[in-house]
Symmetry: C2
Subunit: 470 residues, 2 copies
C-alpha cells in the first residue's frame, strides 16, 4: 500500500474556507500560521461592520477545549477581556431559596460567557492579522465541482453575480445546514443524519440595571429547572443577561395538550401567566416580557451526525458542518474549535499526504463528536430536572467523596467535558464505568456511612488511570 496518490497541502493554489464563523476563522488562522494562503468566503455581512451585539446579544459558554485551541494560536489574549467568568450554577428552584453550586474548587473550574458576534469579530481580525488570510462577505456557496476544484458562489455584495473560485483544498465550515457537506456527499458516499429535538428554544433578555449594573449575580450560569423545561441566563458585558427558554414544541404531541409547551403559549396573557407561575423572580426583571417573546423566533435544536467528512485531498468538513450538537452542555463551539486544533495537528503530521490527514482526522474525531452529541442530549435532562431522588443524591455525594479520595482515578463527567481536553468518547465511556461503580457501592446504602470504602478502593483501582488529555 503506497501513499503516493496524495499531495502536500496548498501546492496547487490557495486554500478556501467556506463560512467565516468561529470554526472557519480559527481554521484559517491555523492554516495561515503554517504559511498557507487562505481565502474565506462568508454568506452573511462582515460582523465587524454590523453592531449586532448592541442589539440582541447571543452568547455562548467558552470552556477549556475552546480556550486551549485559541491559546495555541496566541489568540486567547484578545478574547479574554470580553469574557465573563461563570464559576458555578445559580439554581432558581420552584420552591425554596436560590442556591449556588460551584463547578469546582479551583479558579480553573470556570466557564466563560462570551458574545457570539464579538468573538467572531476578534477571530476574523486575528485571521487577517496573520497577513495570509483574505475574506469576502455576502458570498453564498451554491455548489462545488470537486474534479475541477472549483467553488461556485453567488455574490450578494455585487448584484448577485455568480462566480467560480479555484481552490487547492476546501474547508467547509458553513454550519449545520452545510452546502459543502451536501456537495461533498454527492461524490464521496458519505451520509448525514439530522435529529431534531421535540423541544425548541426562545431567546429573551434581562435588561441592565441602573448604571449598567447586573440584576442577577453575574459570575454564574443561572438555571430555573422545571422538570420538563427550563430557563437559563448568561451574563453579558454591559449588565444584560441573555436568557433562553427551552420548552417542548408540543403541537405534534396529543399527549402534551394540557402540559406547558410552545403550542400553548400563543397570546400575551398565556405567556405572562406561564412565566409568572414558573419563574416569578425572573418576571420581575423583564418588563417587556411578552413583547420580547413574540418578537423573537422560536428556534429548533438539531443534532447532525455525518460520515464522510472529506473527499480525497480536495476538501474537509469542520465545525457544525461535520458535527452539530444541542447546546445543553455548552460544547458546540468548544467541540468545533478543538476539532480545528486537532485537524491542524493532523495536517502537520502529514504535510505530504492531505488525504491521509483527513481520513485519520475523521477516524479519531467522529467517535468524539458522536459522544459529545449524546452527552449534550443527556445534559438537558440533568439540567432541567430538579432531582430529588434519594438514590441519585447519595450517588452524587459518593462521587464527590471518591473524587476527593482518588483525584487521579475519579472525575465527574461534567468536569472532564468542560475543564479538560480528554477525548469526549473516552470521557463518556469512563463516566459509564464510574456510574457502574457508584451503583454497586450504593446498592444497599442510605448514607455514606453504609458505603464499603475498602471495596470502593478496589473498584477504583481496577478502573485504571483517567483518559489522557489530547
Amino acid at each position: 500500500m503506497t501513499q503516493k496518490n496524495s499531495k502536500p497541502l496548498g501546492d496547487e493554489g490557495p486554500l478556501v474556507v467556506v463560512g467565516g464563523g468561529q470554526a472557519g476563522a480559527l481554521m484559517a488562522t491555523f492554516l495561515a500560521k503554517r504559511g498557507h494562503e487562505v481565502h474565506i468566503f462568508e454568506s452573511r455581512p462582515d460582523p465587524r461592520l454590523v453592531d449586532l451585539d448592541a442589539g440582541r446579544s447571543i452568547n455562548m459558554a467558552l470552556a477549556t477545549r475552546g480556550i486551549v485551541a485559541m491559546r495555541e494560536l496566541g489568540v486567547y489574549d484578545r478574547v479574554e477581556p470580553i469574557t465573563i467568568p461563570m464559576k458555578g450554577r445559580m439554581v432558581h428552584p420552584e420552591d425554596g431559596e436560590v442556591n449556588f453550586q460551584p463547578y469546582g474548587t479551583s479558579a480553573d473550574h470556570a466557564i466563560y460567557s462570551v458574545g457570539r458576534h464579538s468573538l467572531n469579530a476578534i477571530l476574523l481580525d486575528a485571521a487577517e492579522d496573520t497577513g495570509n488570510v483574505t475574506m469576502a462577505f455576502g458570498q453564498r456557496c451554491r455548489g462545488v465541482d470537486w474534479s475541477r476544484r472549483m467553488l461556485v458562489l453567488t455574490d450578494y455584495s455585487n448584484d448577485e453575480a455568480m462566480a467560480e473560485v479555484p481552490f487547492d483544498t476546501l474547508f467547509g465550515s458553513d454550519g449545520a445546514n452545510s452546502e459543502i457537506r451536501r456537495s461533498m456527499q454527492l461524490v464521496n458516499g458519505g451520509s448525514t443524519s439530522v435529529h431534531v429535538l421535540d423541544h425548541g428554544y426562545k431567546e429573551l433578555e434581562i435588561p441592565a440595571g441602573p448604571g449598567g449594573s447586573f440584576l442577577l449575580e453575574p459570575n454564574a450560569l443561572h438555571i430555573w429547572p422545571r422538570g420538563n423545561f427550563m430557563l437559563i441566563a448568561l451574563p453579558n458585558p454591559g449588565g444584560t443577561f441573555t436568557v433562553t427558554l427551552f420548552l417542548p414544541f408540543g403541537a405534534d404531541d396529543p399527549d402534551i395538550g394540557s402540559a406547558d409547551s410552545f403550542a400553548t403559549l400563543t397570546d400575551p396573557q398565556a405567556v405572562e401567566r406561564f412565566f409568572a407561575r414558573e419563574f416569578p423572580d425572573f418576571v420581575d426583571l423583564v418588563p417587556d416580557l411578552s413583547e420580547q417573546f413574540f418578537a423573537n423566533q422560536t428556534g429548533d435544536l438539531a443534532t447532525v451526525r455525518c460520515s464522510g467528512w472529506s473527499h480525497g485531498d480536495t476538501g474537509v468538513l469542520i465545525g457544525d458542518a461535520a458535527h452539530a450538537i444541542v447546546p445543553f452542555h455548552g460544547q458546540g463551539m468548544n467541540l468545533a474549535l478543538e476539532s480545528c486544533r486537532l485537524l491542524d495537528r493532523r495536517l502537520a503530521r502529514y504535510p505530504y499526504d492531505v488525504a491521509q490527514a483527513f481520513t485519520l482526522f475523521e477516524m479519531d474525531r467522529k467517535p468524539d463528536a458522536d459522544a459529545i452529541a449524546d452527552m449534550a442530549l443527556d445534559n438537558y435532562i440533568e439540567m432541567r430536572s430538579g432531582v430529588t431522588d434519594p438514590r441519585y443524591l447519595i450517588k452524587r455525594e459518593l462521587a464527590l467523596e471518591l473524587e476527593r479520595r482518588f483525584p487521579d482515578r475519579i472525575a465527574a463527567r461534567y468536569g472532564m467535558v468542560m475543564f479538560t481536553t480528554m477525548p469526549y468518547y473516552e470521557v463518556k465511556s469512563r463516566a459509564e464505568d464510574q456510574a457502574v461503580i457508584l451503583d454497586k457501592l450504593t446498592a444497599h446504602a442510605t448514607s455514606l456511612d453504609d458505603v464499603d470504602f475498602d471495596r470502593a478502593e478496589q473498584l477504583v483501582t481496577q478502573l485504571g488511570p483517567l483518559p489522557v488529555q489530547i
Copy 2:
C-alpha cells in the same frame, strides 16, 4: 457507526508479550507503567544469565528515536553509561587518507554504539522493576487460538511441555519471522512480503589493544566504502570493534562470477587476498581474520513489510514482527522503539477502545515503516559508494549551504532520520522535494558561484516548514 464493539485494555486478564527483545521489553514497560499486569514469554534463555557480550559482541546504533522512547519511561539513564557516542563517519577510502565526516555541528548530532545483549538486559530489568511485569524464558510460541484468547507454548525449560496461556491482549514482538504474525494472518486477512537482499553480511571483531585501548578512533562509525560492497566497524566498551562485511552473495548471479562475493571467498587464501587488497589497514588489526571469517555464519538481510498488524482487540504486532528493515540506516531498533512509544500513546488516547487504537496505530505507522524500509535500502548504496560524480558533489555542497542559510526549511535526510522524530514517511517525501530543488538549482552550475540564490530562496520558501516531530 458506533465503537461499542470494543473494550478497555486488560479488563479480561493479563497482557502477554511474546518476545523479550528490545521492543518486547520496552512495550512491556510502557504497559506496566499504565498499571497493567504483563507477562513476557521469550524463546531464548535469559540474556542476563548468559554473558553473551563477553563472547562475540553485536552492537547497534542507537539514535534519537530510540533514545526519546526510552527517555519517556525514564529508562535511558540506565542505558547511557554503556553507550559510546559516534560523532561522525570515519571513512577509509580505497586511495587516500582516512577522513572524518562529522554528523553535524552540535553534540546532539551523534549516534551511540550499544551492545545488543547489554541493552536487552537493561530493558528487561527496567520492565521487572515496574513491579507489574513477570517473564519466562525458553518458551517458544507454537500458535494462538484468537477466539479463546489462548497462546500455545512449548516450555524448553521444563522438558518441552506444552502449555496454554490465557491472555487479554497479545503483543507479538517475536521478530522478523514472527509466529504471532503467521497465526494472526490466518484469521485477519493480512499479508506479508519478505524481500531478501542479494547481499549478505559477516560479523568480525577487531580485538582491543594493550590495556583495553582502541586500535581505531572510538568516537566514530568506521566505513570502508568499496562501490559494490563495504566494511563497517562500531566501537564496544572494552576496546573491541564489531565489524561487519556487507558483500553480494554472488552464487545465484552468473554476471557476478568474476566479481567479489561471498561465493568467491571459499578458502582462507581467498579471504586473506580479498581483505589485503581491499582493506589493508583493517587486516593489520585482526591477526585471526580467516579463522573468524569461517567460524561466523554469513547472514542474510531481509525487509519484511506486512499489513494487518492487529486482530480486533485481541493482538497487535510490534517491532520486527510488524516491520523488519535492513541495517544500513541503523534504524531497525530505533524504528521498533519509536513504534512502542507511538502505540502506547494510541492506547492512552483510546483507553476504552483497543481495536480502534490498534487500527489507527497501523494507519499512522505503516507508511512510516515502509518509508524507512526504502530509505534503509537506499542508504546501502550511499554508504558503500565512494561518490566522486561532480554533479553529486555540487549538490551536496549546495545542500549544506542551503541548510546553513535556511535552517528551518532545509534539512539533510540523514539528519531528519537520525536526529529527529519527524515521521519517516514525511522525511522521505521532504527529501524528495529537496532533491528536486537541488536538481533545478544545479542544472547548469559547476560551482556554488553559478547558483541563483534568489531563485533558491523562492523555491525553499515554497517548500513550507519542515515536518513536525512526533
